[in-house]
């Protein structure tokens, strides 16, 4: 793993710490208050805050996980650097697309 990827993975990890804490608080709040899906969506739709919150979360998670998968594949397979980078970019793109779709569904009015 290059120092650049290492730094990017650590920085996205640091970014995700408060985001995960916030996400867990949202889960506890929603389940504790027995909010239905419609009530949650009424709070998130059209909200720039939640769009930025979960948009940053999805971006950081996609980068962090893709670099991690590249590292696991590098250790456990004989893939060459080009294939490893392809795997990393592919995994990152899939995670980003899935996550962005979910964020759009939750925040778009």
């Amino acid at each position: 793993m290059s120092l650049r990827l290492y730094a990017l993975q650590r920085m996205t990890a640091a970014l995700m710490i408060p985001l995960i804490a916030g996400h867990l608080m949202v889960i506890f709040y929603a389940t504790h208050n027995g909010l239905a899906a419609a009530e949650i969506l009424s709070r998130t739709r059209g909200s720039l805050f939640w769009a930025a919150f979960y948009g940053a979360f999805v971006g950081a998670a996609a980068i962090h996980a893709a670099i991690g998968l590249r590292s696991v594949a590098s250790d456990w397979t004989r893939l060459k650097p080009g294939a490893l980078n392809g795997l990393m970019w592919g995994a990152g793109a899939i995670l980003l697309a899935l996550g962005t779709g979910a964020v759009i569904a939750v925040v778009m009015p």
């Binding site: 793993m1 290059s2 120092l3 650049r4 730094a7 250790d75 456990w76």
Partner: protein, 244 residues
């Protein structure tokens, strides 16, 4: 008369040949206070005179008798058979992660090549006419050196390291631990080049902090902690733009 008594026979498997070799079984008299090195020596003297193995001091100092005993790298002179035997089984092989020369002897060249690649040699700037560097014993840098300086390069940590096994370019715990001691040595003048060396591909960022090196180091050192220090320094240097 010695207090040693032959209580029973020990069945030992020892690696024979080079990389394409295999384990061969030997029956060795079991004795009290018997070390694994004693077992290997008995086999060489009584059963297989062509058995190749390394040792020097026999008293837990030099580290040259390092071998793989029941799957774990150990100094064989300090490993009592009674403590390492598992279900009556004793398997002795060469150190892992290093090319086998013959039987229990490995080629340590790659280990020391990486030690040099991590710039493990001291580079001083002071001449003989310069005053002695004043290093406070209780300074944080000196304390960091103290924790890591006792390495004698026996190769146990290198053989134990999963990251070395998975990534042949990885410098390994001993080389990085050495680099950490020099980076904290205020007399050394090549730390910029050293930081570049330990942060290049195969550098400290490849350590997964499994801490096998710490668990198995016969000297009780913690190379993972040294490597964590190198990670912090290299990441800070990268964020400042000092490292590409």
């Amino acid at each position: 008369m010695t207090s040693e008594t032959i209580s029973k026979t020990l069945n030992v498997s020892i690696w024979r040949g080079a990389a394409t070799g295999g384990y061969k079984s030997y029956s060795v008299p079991r004795r009290d206070a018997q070390s694994v090195l004693d077992v290997v020596t008995w086999v060489q003297r009584h059963a297989a005179p062509d058995l190749a193995y390394r040792f020097a001091c026999r008293v837990d100092v030099c580290g040259s008798c390092a071998m793989t005993v029941n799957g774990r790298p150990r100094w064989t002179c300090r490993s009592h058979v009674a403590k390492v035997i598992e279900d009556g089984r004793l398997q002795i092989g060469p150190l892992a992660n290093l090319p086998i020369v013959k039987d229990l002897v490995t080629d340590m060249s790659v280990f020391f090549d990486k030690w040099h690649k991590a710039r493990g040699s001291f580079s001083g700037r002071a001449g003989r006419h310069d005053p002695m560097a004043a290093i406070l014993p209780d300074s944080p840098q000196r304390a960091a050196v103290d924790e890591a300086i006792e390495c004698i390069n026996c190769g146990i940590c290198y053989a134990a390291c999963d990251s070395v096994r998975w990534n042949g370019d990885y410098l390994g715990p001993a080389a990085l631990n050495r680099a950490w001691t020099l980076i904290n040595d205020q007399r050394d003048c090549s730390n910029k080049a050293r930081l570049q060396a330990i942060a290049a591909l195969g550098g400290c960022q490849n350590c997964h902090s499994h801490q096998t090196c710490e668990e198995l180091c016969p000297k009780g050192l913690n190379p993972t902690k040294s490597i964590a220090g190198l990670k912090r320094l290299s990441l800070a240097a990268y964020l400042k733009g000092d490292l590409a």
